[in-house]
Symmetry: C2
């Protein structure tokens, strides 16, 4: 399937000169949605994953059907102030400004096998913070699964030691 043709590009959003990749066109098409979930999950079907970590908020939409398919639990990485129980946090720079991510302290047990899921990898700030939080809790990251790698931003270089899997890649804005 030519996935790029299913992703809508929005020029100058959310800021000038950014060509935003809108995945809602992909989600709302049942055949494309199913294909994306199956392809994102495929390399991890026999990896005995315990938990899928879902990154707030578009990551939630992709992580939970993969969890359902792989028969695992779902753990949330959320923006500061959104998780009600005891958390640890990591602050980082993302493409459009600084941000803080948090995770519940009890959501991953030491040694559990974790797959991290998000929609898109840009500079890797968000994903890097999520990885840090998971490893701080003792989770063993078995892979990272994404729809899109914005290869021209170089973020994927930071995650070479992990099993990084994505479905489409863009080499320019």
């Amino acid at each position: 399937m030519n996935l790029k043709s299913k992703i809508r590009e929005i020029p100058n959003w959310p800021i000038k000169d950014v060509n935003f990749k809108d995945i809602t066109t992909l989600l709302q098409d049942k055949k494309v949605f199913r294909y994306v979930i199956d392809e994102m999950a495929k390399p991890f079907l026999n990896k005995k994953i315990d938990k899928i970590v879902a990154i707030d908020a578009r990551g939630f939409i992709l992580a939970s059907p993969i969890a359902y398919k792989l028969n695992t639990g779902v753990c949330l990485v959320r923006k500061k102030g959104k998780l009600p129980y005891k958390t640890i946090s990591a602050t980082y720079m993302k493409e459009y400004g600084p941000d803080t991510l948090t995770i519940h302290k009890d959501t991953i047990k030491p040694g559990e096998k974790v797959l991290v899921v998000d929609d898109l990898l840009a500079t890797g700030g968000t994903l890097g913070a999520a990885v840090k939080l998971i490893e701080k809790l003792g989770g063993k990251i078995q892979g990272i699964s994404l729809i899109i790698d914005l290869q021209f931003l170089g973020g994927s270089q930071k995650f070479k030691k992990y099993n990084l899997h994505y479905l489409v890649s863009y080499d320019k804005e």
Copy 2:
């Protein structure tokens, strides 16, 4: 399954005298997560649903595995400023203050059969706005599926004409 025992209660969060229902304990347990998705989907398995509408952000986690299971697309109802394409919007009062929800104009076609999914029904402000947006686009709401109804807040009374399905109900704070 005694689902209430799997939901963590957080006293005085996000504001005083609210006994917040934390579903992260339910999501991170693979058996409970699977049970919840299966039970939320069950009444709608043979309803020929075209689209699941997912409400930002906890609704995303529940809506997308139901969409995967029912073989439908996923449409997002998001807070203002989050959707990049042409939207329509609805402003409403929610439990802790005013808010505006938006939906992409092209995400539901007139006549499509829609199931609305969220985690919890409180006063019904969020859900009411989502219903309004879906109907404005011509979507035919076949049902609403939730984990929790806070029955003592009376929100569910507003949705009697829809096929409202929830797994647990609380009769006091």
